[in-house]
Every structure is written in C-alpha cells, then in structure tokens.
C-alpha cells in the first residue's frame, strides 16, 4: 500500500516563527525593511528552511507574532522559471 504525503500544496498554513530556519548570507538595512510591503507569501522548503519572503518573516518578528502563514514547497514541487529567454 502506498501512502501519499500531502505536503505538496498551494494552501497556506500557520507555522511557528521559531520552527523556521533562516538561511545565512541575507542582508537588509532597517530603513529598507521599515518601508517594505508585499502580498507574496513566505515560502518554506521541506526542511522548514525559508526560501522566500524573508522580509515578511523579519517584520513578523518585529510585530511580536508567534506564527506566520507560509506556503510549503516539497522536494518534487514544480519549479516555475519564467521563460524570458525564449519570449524575448
């Protein structure tokens, strides 16, 4: 019997901030973050490592939130790369 995991999904789920791992090597200024706004969701990979939306994550910490809505990416999720080279 096969059992399919349901971790490849487009739905948002709330995750505790402290369960999210932040990758190293990302730099921002406080001024830059103060004026930041975006509707894009925070993205996590299958190991709970943040892959996108770091600014939203940081602002959530500033606001003292405990959880944050995230979109999860599985190991075999489709990778969407805009076909700019061919359309140009």
């Amino acid at each position: 019997m096969f059992h399919f995991r349901t971790d490849i999904t487009d739905t948002l789920e709330d995750v505790f901030l402290e369960d999210i791992t932040v990758p190293k090597g990302n730099f921002f200024s406080l001024d830059e973050l103060a004026g930041f706004s975006s509707n894009e969701p925070v993205m996590l990979d299958h190991k709970n490592v943040l892959t996108s939306g770091l600014e939203i994550y940081l602002l959530a910490i500033r606001e003292g939130k405990r959880t944050i809505p995230v979109k999860r990416e599985g190991r075999f999720s489709k990778i969407d790369i805009p076909n700019l080279a061919l359309t140009a």
Binding site: G25, N26, F28, L30, D31, L58, I61
Partner: protein, 495 residues
Amino acid sequence: MEKNLTFILWKTSEPGIKTIYKMVYAGKKVIERKSLRYRISEKNWDNVAKRVTSKEKNHVLINSLLVSTENTFRFENSPAEAGSDKTCSLFFFENRLNSTFRDGTTKASTYKKYSTVLEGFKSCALAAFGKPELPFAELRNPETIRELTLGLKKSRRKSRSKKEDHVVFNYLSVFKTYVDLWNMESGTQFPVNTAAFFRFINRKKPAKQATVLSGDQIRMMGEYIPKGNRNSYSETLAKSMFLFQYHAGGIRIQDCLFLTNKMFHSDRLTTTVKKTGGLINIPYCFGMVECLRPYHEDEYRKSVQNVRTGKLSLPAEVIMTLYRIGNFDFSSMDYASFMGFYNMVSSNPKYAGIMPALETVRDLLEKEIMDIFFSSLREKPEQFVFPQLDIEDFKGVRDNTAKFTQKHEYILHRARTRHNSALARIGKSLGIENLTGHVPRHTLANHLMSEGFGLEKISHVLAHAETKTTKIYLKNSHGYTDTMDTLKEFRERKK
C-alpha cells in the same frame, strides 16, 4: 717639497697678549696661516716645545688642541702614517667621524653621540697617560685597556657618579668599531685584538623585565583623564600617541611623530619605517580613530553625523535579534546613542545572548565611521596627524633621516623628551613604572606572543630587520621561549 707645521704667536691689540696661529710651510714659503682663536699671555708660551706652559689658565685644553691640530696635519700630509701603529687611534676616530659626517653617511644624532664618546676617551687618555693621544700600538697593551676602562667609568658630570658598566661597554663598542676599521684598512700585519677591550667590564647584571602593559592597563590608559590644566594637553597627546602606536602595529615613536594624513589610504595606513627602511601596511581599527579624534574633531564629527544604524546593511540574524528588543528604535540611532545602549546592556550578564548581534552592529558602525573619517582626513592639506612637530620644520628631509641637521635632531629630541615626560607623569598617576614611548612595542609583541603568533610573524609586525631583535623583545626581556608552549601543551595532554 715636504710640508711642515708649526705654531706661532701673533700680536693682538693688547700688549703682552698674543693669538696662537698655525702655520704650514714648505721650505721658506708659507702656505697657510690660520688663527686657532686662542689668546694667551706671551710669557706662558714655550717657543721650543710649541706648547703653553702650565701657568696659562686653559693650558690643558689649548695643548690638546695643538696636539689634535698636529695629528690632523700629520694624517692628512703623510698617508703612510695612517697605516702605522704609531698613529693616534683617537685622531683616526675623530678624523673618520668628521669625514663621514661631512659626506652624510653619519647622521647628526650619531655624530653628536660619538663625539661625546670621543671626548670621553680623550679626557680619559689625558688623565691616564698625560696626553690626549692613544697610538694603536698602545692598544695591544692590556694595561692600557685597563686604564681606559677605569678612566671611562669616572663620570665627567658634576655629580662625579660612576658610569654604569653597560655605558662603558657602549663607549668601548663605539671605539672598537673604529679600531676594527683601522685593522681592516691600514694593512697592518698585527691587528689590534679588539675583543680584549671588554675584559675589564662585568656586563652581567640581573635581567630586568621591560615594561609591558596588560589588557586592563591598556584600557586604563584609554580612560585616563589628566588632572589639572597645566599638563592636560601634553598628557592627552602622549596618551593618544601611545595608544595609537599600540593599535598601529607597535610603530616606533619616531615613525608615529612623522605620520602624515596622506599616509592614510582607503583601507590601510602605509608608513615608512625610518630605522630599518621599507614600508609597512597597517589595517585600520577603531582605536586609531579614537586616538586621532582630539586633533581632527571636525572630521570625526562629520563621520559620526553621517552614520546611522538604520542605514547599515545587517545580516538577517542580527535584525532578528534587534527586532526582538522592545522599546528601542534602532533605525534612528547614531553611534553615540547605540554605544550608550550597548554599554548599558553589556554590563548585565542577563543579556549575554544578544551581545554577538550587538557587537556586529557596533563593528559595522565603526567601520562606516572609519571609512568616512580616514577619507576626510586624507583630503586635508598635508600635515602631521599628531601635533608634536611642525611639518614645515622638516620640509624636504622628513623621508630621509640622514639629511637631518642638528636643528632637526634637536627638535626631534625635544619632542621625544616631551612625550616621555608626559608618559612618565601618566605612569605615576596610574601606578605603572617606566612608561616610555617604546612600551607599546614591547606590549604588542608580548600580546601577540601570548595569543600564539610565531616569532617570524611578530618580527614582521614590528618591522624588525632580523628575528634576533624580536627574540630580545620576547625572550631576553620577558623570558618567553618555546618552553611556554611546550609546557602548556604538556599540561593540556595530561588532563
């Protein structure tokens, strides 16, 4: 035709008083006649010996001048005499010293020191042998060396205190250099054994540790505020220069005095090492800014005004920590307000967890300030960064100490003396003995050693020409040897 020298008396306006003249003649023809500028009573002149008698007030001085003039003449006019061991070694010393000073191979400061040494030998020879002469042949006699050594120990100062053995050793070392030179150049088959010069000196003395400051004492120096107004400026300047030397790779005080603002490049300080030649590059640290701040207040203010925490590019991990701290708006903080917050937090062990992030912010703020400060410092008209010397006084000569005149040497000597006196006062207030302009070098060398840096690397930092000099700093002055590392490792393994 052979030239001869004699001394004659020449009339003056005063009856019975004559001036001594030197006269050079060949046959009956007078070639040169020159006043020696000594006026004596005619009746005190021995016309046969061509010397003044002991009744004349300055007879010792005048006669020694006459001997010296004769020696110079003999040396210059009979080249064969230079190779003879009957030549006066003191005259050879004097002649060589003067000629090297004239051609610029001996610096004014060295000339002055060596002249003092020469005078010491002359008065010593005069006292011991009755004349200011010391033929090379005499130097082979151990009794002569013994007399010289004992004579040199007697100080010519008013106090009549004895010279210490190491001072006599230095006198003999200088003399040895010239005797070795004569051994080499004269072509003599029986050179003087100069190693025997030191046999009557006991150089062994208990090892004395050079002063080295601990990390806490360096901090104490940084926080030192001079008491009263009288010496406030000189002590602040001495403190700033002392700490700057420590932060800037232990550069020598002479190099520190000659630092100009044009030596401060975008990412490093490049300065010449006057003693050994060559260049040394020193990376910046914020301590250097703090030391220069009192003398470049406008540049400092400009750099601090332009830096704010909100503008810094910070790692996400650091921002996470800053956002966790409530009640403080970091984005509008300048350096002073951030450091106020930093100092408040760092004194409380409860907040140890957030310190690494705060340290990162502090370092980035300081880096920004350094960038602006050093670049605006560089843009100023050329000047010495520490106001001990005036750049106009050293125009055209400051890159080459060999070009220094006695006036330059005097100005430099006064600056050093001022600096060391101010440091001595600071040392007295802080309870640190023997605080001098050389202590930063010893301190840095020992701090590097205790952090595990090797001899070779320390030697490069201190710009020593040879590692054996560094060994003197570490081993001879502080007892550092490989045994330190070996024993440390041994104890670690035993645990």
